[in-house]
Amino acid sequence: MAAPGRHVGHYIQRNGRFLLCNIEQVLGHRSFGWTPAVRQQAAEVNQELPESIVIPKKKTWSKEAVLEALSSTVGRDPTACPYMFQDDPFLTPRTSTEFRMFALSQESGRDAAKFFINSNPKFFTKDFAEPHIPCLMPKTVSLVLEEVSEEALKERINLRKVSAAVDMYDQLLQAGTAVSMETTHGLLDLICFYCDKDPAEEEEPQREDTDSDEPKPKGRIHRASDFIKLTWKENNNAERIFNLLPERDTRCYSALIRGMVKYRAPAKAYSMYTDMLNNRVTGDVHIFNTLISSVVHLRVNYEARWELVTELLYQMNQQKIRPNILTFNSVLQTLRRCGPIGKSLSLQTVSEMKALGIAPSLATYEHILCLFHKPVAQKQYGADILQEIVSELEGTSLTCQDPNDVLFFATAMRVCVDTKELELGYKVHSLTEFGENYKLQGVPYQRSTYYGRFFNLLCMMEHVDAVLKWYRRLIPSLFYPNVQGMMDLLQCLDTDNRLDLLPDIWKDIKTVGHENKSEVVEEVLQLMAREKHSPEVQESFATCALDVKNEFEVKRLLQWSNLSLSNVTIVLLRANKTQMAWEMLELFKSYNRVPSKEVLDAFLTVCHSDGTPQKAVELVQAAAALCLLQTPTLATRTLAEFDLTEEQRAILTELEAAGEPSD
């Protein structure tokens, strides 16, 4: 079989060459552009049997393709600060607060510039760019058309001037001009979306650009606070215009119902919906989506909620409306607040989705995880579900279909942390690293929550070397650890007995701005002072301890505590920095702190090994001056262990005796 095939191949190849030569002669030099392709084709034919020649289609590259390819070779640089701050090394953020502040100020600067350009278009008429760049030119934000006409109304709707548009509509009605249905839809949408209020002026530039220009630091926060005060008012302009309409179609109802749900009038929305049914108008998918999401506010009882949801779904089916992903996500969101019945029903909902050919989005999975994962009982359940979700999603490029999609990764990591599933955690993380999936980690707050949990999991379960590897990769280029994260890391070092790394970690602590958090500092000191180490390590500890002392003394960010003073002293003593340790003893006095017995014992031991009895006596005297209870024992020990002069002996015996009556 193979041999004849090869013969045929040879034959074709030879003929192909012959043919090519001929063609080349005919076409001359112009053919050079495509001959390699033809040759390749011939070679391919040689390998396979000559059934059909597939001419490859011309590939049209998108304009970003080259850049995307280049970008994939670079990726993220874990050793550098976030790219957005690279232009300004002075403003490289070191803490999450700084990050937020700098990112916001960068963004607000951009917005301010845009606002200035848009509001003063007359200064920005010159167009240098060739070809023309529309987004750099000022946009028209003020009204041009003054006369009363439908065109003017459309202009007002496009510029989102709510009150001006309503005025124009009223004037048109008074003049007796009929407004087309499409314009009316637009007007109702506009009024309902902004709840009959003009969108705030400074929001304008943000709203206008539909492109993905602005990095997200704004987003939700602005929006939430913006609309929090607005509620749907009885008989506002939307309702008034709606009632004036001669005929109402689905989109009019849709606009009103969505507006009512958005501005927290769910009962009204529901009655509007029944009104719509009575008028024999069919709904659309948006109406049902919003109504399902408002079920929680309409019914108190768990069972009743689910009944209403199923009723709505049945009506959808009756009206032949195809549900979309948002429909099911809002069903699941409702199920999250349906108590115990939610679990089994949620799985059925997902099966229904799959039966309808709707692929679940991350938000779907997030709802299910939240339904099944209980932090206290039945932890394994959540982990099993997550296991399955991850195995389903592995190696897929995710797209955002629902604003709640971005909550998934943080939730998934929480499940991993609660169940201590390290392997699963790694899998979730590799999912975020696949392709462009990192974009679904959401706003910086959610992202840092995610990474914080991931790091917490690592510290809990992973070996210290691996933890440190991740530590270098994640911090500070991806997130800034909080105090708890640092404590976790310290604990991890402690468990795996790598306390020699403490000085390095202390430097990092200073970098991320936790040097003024007392619990972190105390923990570092405690770990350094707890055990004896090799001389080199002790030396580095002592340097570190002096640095910590500097934080206390020079920058005065913290208050010395008994423990921290003792720990610093002990570390210094172990590194044979006796002189500095004596200075520390002075600090005890000046801050009215009491050195512990261990400190004094350590001092005596050092004095003994140095052979400086005078120091020992001074120490006992200092202890007496601080009115310590241990003074007599110290004195006894000194008397026993040291070579003392008569004079010193006398002092010590006196101190030893003086201590006793006071006991």
Partner: protein, 441 residues
């Protein structure tokens, strides 16, 4: 509980091994031990391949595999697939063993135990009448009751077997597993702590001098046994102790790993479906199968299957303000700051601020692309009408056209406009030209 059980099982097995090593006959002893092994095998030994240290286990393992053969021989009535599965399991274990010690000792032990296998099978076949049912009962009950041997009791050696029941023999048995095969010959003597008779006699004589003679004797004897156990342990040196510790550790590990599935294991054997629960592979698969159920729940059955035209209808509409805002919201939520310079350039490209790649020097000239070059260059045809065919005006216009054809900055439309401006101009000035006789028609 389970841990204790498996430990006793271990002990029982080990001692029984010694027993049959020494005197090969006790077939019924094997019979009794076989179910026990099944339990240990099914649950515990499978995990052995994962347990890191197997100092003493590797010697034991040979025995279980052999024992298993026997049990399969006993169960001749179950469907053949059961047997096959079991065989597969058995073959797997020796392989693991081989990999781990790969030395000659393995060979030796194999050889040694080989003849032993024969006997129990013979004995087993006639015991097979109630054998299987009984085995299952045993498995389900998880009772390591050695009393079952009475069923098959045919011959002697009862005494030897008794020693297994003897609680004190357990620890001894554990220790002896380590050097079991080395001292296969010397193990022929009863391995228990039965002390030398003269020693016992001396002890009882000494006890007789004391008031409560019975109690004193037992105390003395116990003391002696303890001493003997200790000396033996020390004689074997640290390694044996290590072995002991490891054996203990291993038992613990088994416990933790098999706990979740211990019960299902037995049921699998019980319902004769022929599963062998190998924790390594099948165990995982079963776990996966169980988990799969989460998303295979029944559906709500609310929606009827969709038809194509529904989808077409929904896409027809123009995007509304709500849609735009929803898209905007999505893009804001997923919008991450660029991670490197190229990503920033991608962003700029999308905004139209950047020259597009691949570089094209006609970018931004899209409307000109449809205009061919000859329309730019050959402009004489526009002079055909409205201009004189000769004379100074014609001459002038030819110069204008030549200039225009060399001008790259104007569009064809602009060039045409330029020409038509002159046409209008000269038509307006027709009178003047005629007067000046410039029109040389």
């Amino acid at each position: 509980m389970y841990r204790f059980l498996s430990r006793t099982v271990c002990a029982a097995r080990n001692s029984s091994v010694i027993v049959y090593e020494s005197c090969v006959l006790p077939a019924k002893c094997e019979k009794a031990a076989a179910p026990v092994f099944r339990v240990v095998n099914g649950g515990g030994v499978n995990t052995l391949s994962t347990s890191s240290v197997r100092f003493c286990e590797k010697k034991d393992d040979v025995v279980p595999s052999n024992q298993d053969e026997k049990t399969t021989a006993v169960k001749e009535d179950p469907p053949t697939e059961t047997d096959q599965a079991k065989m597969a399991k058995q073959t797997e274990e020796p392989v693991v063993l081989m990999a781990e010690d790969g030395s000659t000792t393995q060979q030796q032990t194999d050889v040694k135990t080989e003849p032993v296998v024969e006997k129990p099978t013979e004995a087993a076949i006639d015991a097979a009448k109630s054998g299987k049912q009984h085995l299952l009962d045993l498995l389900v009950a998880m009772k390591v009751e050695v009393t079952s041997k009475k069923k098959f009791k045919g011959t002697t050696i009862k005494q030897n077997y008794e020693s297994i029941k003897h609680p004190e023999s357990k620890s001894e048995a554990m220790e002896s597993t380590i050097s079991m095969f080395q001292k296969a010959t010397e193990a022929a003597s009863p391995p228990s702590e039965t002390l030398e008779p003269d020693l016992v006699a001396a002890a009882s004589a000494a006890a007789a001098t004391l008031p409560d003679s019975n109690r004193a004797q037992s105390v003395l004897l116990r003391q002696l046994r303890e001493r003997k156990a200790i000396t033996e342990a020390q004689k074997k040196g640290d390694m044996s102790k290590l072995g002991e510790i490891i054996a203990d550790m291993k038992v613990g590990r088994q416990y933790s790993r098999q706990k979740p599935s211990a019960s299902s294991q037995i049921t699998f054997d019980d319902d004769e479906r022929g599963y062998t629960r190998d924790r390594g592979i099948t165990g995982e698969l079963v776990g996966v199968r169980r988990r799969r159920n989460f998303f295979l729940a029944k559906r709500l059955n609310i929606f009827s299957p969709t038809t194509e035209d529904d989808a077409v209808q929904s896409t027809a509409a123009q995007p509304t303000l709500w849609d735009m805002e929803f898209a905007n919201n999505l893009s804001q939520v997923t919008n991450q700051a660029p991670r490197n310079g190229f990503e920033e350039m991608i962003q700029w490209t999308k905004e139209g601020k950047m020259w597009q790649y691949p570089v094209d020097n006609e970018a931004g000239l899209e409307e000109e692309a449809s205009v061919s070059f000859h329309e730019h260059i050959f402009l004489e045809k526009h002079l055909e009408e409205g201009f004189p065919h000769q004379g100074p005006v014609r001459h002038f216009m030819e110069l204008v056209v030549a200039g225009l054809s060399r001008n790259p900055y104007l569009t064809v439309q602009q060039k045409k406009g330029h020409i038509s401006w002159f046409r209008d101009y000269f038509q307006q000035k027709e009178e003047v030209l005629k007067e000046a006789n410039a029109d040389l028609n």
